[in-house]
């Protein structure tokens, strides 16, 4: 192993190191397969279609909430950066309040608050999409804010001096660069949204998490089912980050 005196941090791996690592990974995977093969997998396969459908629900919730949350987040961030005072304070209040509250609490809050004002209960899907979008918008607003701050101010001033309007500067100069700079944080937040969808089962939507729990309540096969659950989320989250990374050809260079 490449351990030398007087060096700090990880050293360059030798060929031996690499082979050692590969061997360890192979051994670990074998152990995992051996452990997992002893379980009753019929339960999982029997409900395959149901599980896949519920996984689709999780993806749908993620995609919808990000699709609504990203524009809303950009709007909040722009308002926070340079809106009229009232709107600016409102944006800050929304962002900070949602970010300081547990996500489970936000979901409950939307579920409770709407009936308190309108008098009748909200459908589960409306509550789910609203609360998830609200969460996505607030977290993404902070991501966008960091992205906007990463673009040097002088570019905005130069744009103003050239006679461009504020909207033009925002859409053609600042946002394209900001979006590029914030990609890593964006990926992290979208993956976080996928993980948060696992909480939405509290309002009664059958997402992947609830589906596995329902099957477990009937069959009681916790090891097989919870392993499937963890594996499902792990694969989807990894896929999600890989997918977004591959959309940006310069991602590796930018790192």
């Amino acid at each position: 192993m490449a351990v030398r005196e007087g060096t700090f941090g990880p050293a360059e791996p030798t060929a031996l190191d690499r082979w050692l690592w590969r061997g360890l990974v192979a051994a670990g995977l074998l152990l995992l397969v051996w452990l997992v093969a002893r379980e009753r997998w019929e339960v999982v396969f029997a409900s395959g279609a149901f599980l896949l459908k519920s996984l689709g629900v999780s993806w749908l919730l993620t995609v919808t909430s990000v699709a609504i949350g990203l524009p809303a987040g950009i709007l909040l961030a722009v308002l926070r950066a340079g809106g009229p005072p009232i709107l600016r304070h409102l944006a800050v209040a929304i962002i900070e309040l949602v970010r300081a509250t547990p996500q489970l609490m936000v979901i409950f809050w939307v579920f409770f608050a709407v009936p308190a004002f309108t008098g009748h209960k909200v459908p589960a899907w409306t509550a789910a999409i609203t609360s998830l979008s609200l969460i996505a918008a607030s977290y993404l607003a902070e991501v966008v804010r960091a992205g906007l701050a990463s673009v040097p101010r002088i570019q905005v001033e130069s744009g103003l001096a050239t006679g461009l309007s504020r909207a033009q500067i925002l859409s053609t100069i600042v946002l394209p660069q900001a979006l590029r700079n914030m990609l890593p944080a964006l990926i992290a937040t979208i993956v976080m949204m996928f993980k948060i969808t696992s909480l939405i089962y509290v309002v009664g939507i059958t997402d992947f998490f609830r589906a596995v729990i329902l099957i477990n309540n009937r069959e009681f096969e916790p090891v097989a089912l919870y392993t499937t659950l963890a594996a499902g989320y792990f694969i989807c989250c990894s896929l999600l980050s890989w997918l977004i990374r591959s959309l940006d050809p310069n991602y590796v260079l930018a790192q």
């Binding site: 007087g6 690499r18 300081a100 509250t101 308190a116 993956v191 792990f234």
Partner: protein, 210 residues
Amino acid sequence: MRWSVIWDYREALLSGLAYTLAITALTMIGATLLGILVACLHQHPSYVVGRLAETYVEVIRNIPSVIKVFFLYFVAGLDAMPAAVLGLSIHQSSYIADVLDAGFRSVPREQSEAAWACGHSRLQILHHVLLPQVVTTVMPPLTSQFIEIVKNSAVAMLLGIKELTFQTQNIDVETFRGFEAATAVTVIYLALSLTIAGGMALIGRQLTWR
């Protein structure tokens, strides 16, 4: 709207707060210790150990915290409280490890090597060269990780632990005053987060003055 419901349920809310505080405090300790361990392993000169730590962080990050907690509770058969604390500690440790790792990487490697060349031991380098610089860069992201722990503690209600979010739902079930309860509890969470942010800022200032 009837806000007196909060006063009627003050004892339930206070005991909920006690549970939330207990989970938060224990998770903070657990996650920080685990995070330090993982960060150290990642900085370990051995390639294999470093990759192991990397794999741990990657796997833990891509699985929701609820699943870890449920896994420990239903599969490993732990009691509700240990399952919640351990699950949340493992969850947050991967993030804290990353924060600490980034902190140590922010100090140029040459500084450690120069100190080593001057004849300092590794422990002396850690104490006199690395830590004073790392603490200042690590404090802000560590604060947000700790606030994250406060928020994640709500997951414990899904195991039936009677913490704040559980009490909210309970008040709603008993009185249909979910909105008032949810608002009050949100304010409590906000106060908790602000207290942690303030406390960490204080500690950070103490550490940099020295």
